[in-house]
Amino acid sequence: MTNRAELTRRDILKSGAAVASVTLASGVTLMAFGGTADAKGADAGKRWGLLIDAGKCDANCNDCVTACSTENGWGHSDHGTPETDVQWIRKVTLKEKATGRTVSAPVMCQHCEAPPCVDVCPTGASMQRPDGIVLVDKHTCIGCRYCMMACPFKARSFVHEPVTDQKVGAPRGTGTVESCTLCVHRVDKGRIPACVEACEQAGHSAILFGDLNDPESPISKALESYPSIALRDDLGLNPGVRYQNM
C-alpha cells in the first residue's frame, strides 16, 4: 500500500495532468471545428462522400455555391478579383467534345482517399480525418501554397486579403489555404453539408451525401445501382466525391 504523502503527490501530479489535458482538449476541440485530426468527432469506420448527379443539376442554379459561401463565411472580397477570390465550391458547365452534349455540376474538394495535398504539405497542416474528410489546420498552415500546386482539381484557395465576418464553424485566416470542409462542423453534429441541403431545397436533389463505407447507405446503394465516375480517375486518388450522368 502506498503512503499518504505519495498519494498526495500523485494527486497533485494527476490534477496537473488533468488541467493540461483539459487545456489540450479544449484547444483540440476548437481546432476540430476549423478542422484538425481530432478523432473525437471523426469515426474511422466511416468515409463521408458525395454523389453528384449532373443530370439533375440545373446550369442556371448556383444555390450550392451561395449556401456554402453563407455557411462558411467566404465570398466577400474588398479588393480581390475573380482570380484572387476564394472559391470553396464552383459550378462548371461542360460540353462533351465528341458529342456536343452539355452538362453542369458543382466542383469542390474531392476528399481523395490518397490526397496529393496531404502528401506535399511540409508541416502536415493539410490533413485527412479518419472519416476521409480532407482539411487544412489553420494553426499550422504556413501559406506556402504547395498543396494548391498539387491539387488536381483546383479545389483550394489561398486567402489573399484580411478576412471579415467569420463563422464560428469555419475559422479562416489571411495567408493560409482553405477549401471545402464537407461542412465538417455540421457533419459532426449529424447534419448534412450546406450545399446538399441547398440543392434539396431548390428541388434538384442533385447532391447526395453519405457514408461510402456503409453498404446500406443511400449513397452506396446509388453508386451500386448506377454508373458513376471520379474526376481524374487516372490518378488513382479514389476521390470521395463521385459524379453521375457526366
Partner: protein, 397 residues
C-alpha cells in the same frame, strides 16, 4: 609561382557604395514584405490560379545557383584539380549566401512568414518540401564546416577532401530535392516528370558557375586583384559544357512530353502557342542563355567571352525558371478530360500573370542578401586569394 595567400578584400569606396546599394535593396524588399503582409497577397500579381510567382522564380534560381556555386570547390577537393583550389573557399562561401538569399525570398513570401518556426519544427516526411527544409539547413551546416576546414591551418588534406565529398553528395541531393518539388507534382501536365531532378542538377551546374564567375570577377576588380586569362577561359569552357548539358536535358524533357499525346497540349503551349512563355523559351532560354554562351566560349574563348557568357547564362537561367514555374501553372489543368469548359471558374483557360512591383522588390532583395553576404564574407574572412594571375595558378596534378 607564389604560395596562394588569402586576404580580406580592401574596403574601397566602390565596395562601400555597392554594399550600400545592396542594403537599399534589402530594405526595399523588407518594405515590400511588410506591405504585402499588411494588405495580403491580393496586392501582388499572384492569385489562386498562378499561386507561385516571381518571388519563387528568384528563390528557385538562387537555390539552384547556390548548389552550383559549390562546383569550383568540389572540382578542387573531390576531383583534385589544383587550379581551382585557390577559389574553393569563396566558392563555398558564395554557395551558402546564395542559398540564404533564396530561402529568404521563399520564407518572406509565405502567407504566414511568422510561422517559420512551425516549418522548422513540424515535418511531414511524405513531403519533398519538408525534406528540402532539412536538405537546405544541412547544406548550410555542411558547407559551413567544409569552409572552416579549408580555412584552418594544419588540417590534414584528407579531412578537407572528406568534407568536400560530403558537401558534393549533399548538393546533388539538394538539387534533386528542388527539382522534385516540380517533378513530383502528378496533377500538373507541365511538371510530373522524373527528368526534373537531373535537369535541375544540370541547371545548377550552369547557373551556379555563371554567378560564381560574375561575383568573383566583380570582387577582384573592386579589390584591384589580378585574375588570369587562362583560368577564366578554362572556367568559361566548363560553363559552355554545363550550358550544353542544360540544353540536352531540356531537349529530352520536351521531346519525351511531345511523344505522349496526353502531354501534347502543354508542350505546344510552351513551344509554340504560349506567347511570352514561348518567346522566353526559345529566345531567352535556348538562344541567349544556351546557344550564345556556348558559341562564345567555344568559338571565341577569351576573358570577355567568359564574362559575357556568364551574364547570358544567368539571364537565360532566370527565363528558364520563369518558364518552368509560371508557364507550368499558366497552362490549365485538365480536370475534365474529353470535355470543353463552357462556363467555369477560370477553367480550361490560360492563366495570366503580371508580376507586381512588390514581387520584383522581394526577388531582388533575395539577390541583394546573397551578394551582400558574399561581399561581407570576403571583407571579413580570408576567402579570396590575393592573386589569380595565370603565373600564380597551380598546375594540375
Amino acid at each position: 609561382m607564389d604560395r596562394t595567400i588569402y586576404r580580406e578584400i580592401k574596403a574601397t569606396p566602390a565596395l562601400w557604395q555597392l554594399g550600400g546599394l545592396m542594403i537599399a535593396f534589402i530594405l526595399a524588399a523588407l518594405w515590400s514584405v511588410w506591405t504585402v503582409e499588411h494588405h495580403g497577397h491580393v496586392i501582388t500579381g499572384m492569385n489562386n490560379q498562378i499561386v507561385w510567382g516571381l518571388p519563387h522564380v528568384f528563390a528557385i534560381f538562387l537555390i539552384v545557383a547556390a548548389s552550383g556555386a559549390l562546383n569550383v570547390a568540389s572540382i578542387a577537393s573531390v576531383f583534385g584539380q589544383k587550379a581551382y583550389k585557390p577559389m574553393a573557399r569563396f566558392s563555398s562561401l558564395l554557395a551558402i549566401t546564395l542559398l540564404v538569399g533564396g530561402l529568404a525570398v521563399v520564407v518572406l513570401d509565405l502567407g504566414r512568414p511568422d510561422r517559420l518556426i512551425v516549418a522548422m519544427t513540424t515535418y511531414n516526411f511524405s513531403s519533398i518540401f519538408a525534406w528540402n527544409v532539412l536538405l537546405y539547413n544541412g547544406f548550410i551546416v555542411i558547407v559551413g564546416g567544409y569552409l572552416v576546414l579549408q580555412m584552418m591551418r594544419k588540417v590534414d588534406a584528407r579531412w578537407v577532401k572528406a568534407a568536400g565529398v560530403i558537401a558534393f553528395v549533399w548538393r546533388l541531393a539538394l538539387t534533386t530535392g528542388t527539382g522534385s518539388i516540380f517533378g513530383w507534382l502528378v496533377a500538373r501536365p507541365g511538371y510530373d516528370a522524373a527528368i526534373m531532378a537531373p535537369l535541375f542538377i544540370a541547371m545548377s551546374f550552369a547557373f551556379g558557375l555563371a554567378v560564381f564567375l560574375l561575383v568573383l570577377m566583380a570582387l577582384f576588380r573592386l579589390s584591384d586583384r589580378m585574375i588570369g586569362d587562362a583560368i577564366l577561359i578554362r572556367l568559361g569552357r566548363l560553363l559552355g559544357i554545363f550550358a550544353a548539358a542544360v540544353l540536352y536535358f531540356t531537349a529530352v524533357q520536351h521531346l519525351t512530353n511531345l511523344y505522349a499525346t496526353e502531354h501534347g497540349g502543354v508542350e505546344w503551349f510552351i513551344l509554340k502557342d504560349g506567347g511570352i512563355f514561348t518567346a522566353l523559351f526559345w529566345i531567352v532560354q535556348v538562344m541567349i542563355g544556351g546557344l550564345a554562351p556556348m558559341a562564345l566560349v567555344f568559338l571565341n574563348p577569351s576573358r570577355s567571352s567568359t564574362m559575357l557568357a556568364s551574364t547570358l547564362v544567368v539571364i537565360g537561367g532566370i527565363a528558364q525558371v520563369y518558364v518552368i514555374v509560371i508557364g507550368g501553372q499558366a497552362y490549365p489543368l485538365d480536370i475534365f478530360p474529353g470535355f470543353e469548359v463552357v462556363e467555369g471558374f477560370n477553367e480550361g483557360v490560360v492563366n495570366t500573370y503580371t508580376p507586381s512591383f512588390y514581387e520584383i522588390l522581394l526577388g531582388l532583395g533575395g539577390v541583394a542578401i546573397a551578394l551582400f553576404a558574399a561581399g561581407l564574407g570576403a571583407k571579413v574572412l580570408r576567402v579570396l586569394p590575393t592573386n589569380l594571375s595565370d603565373a600564380n595558378v597551380p598546375g594540375d596534378s
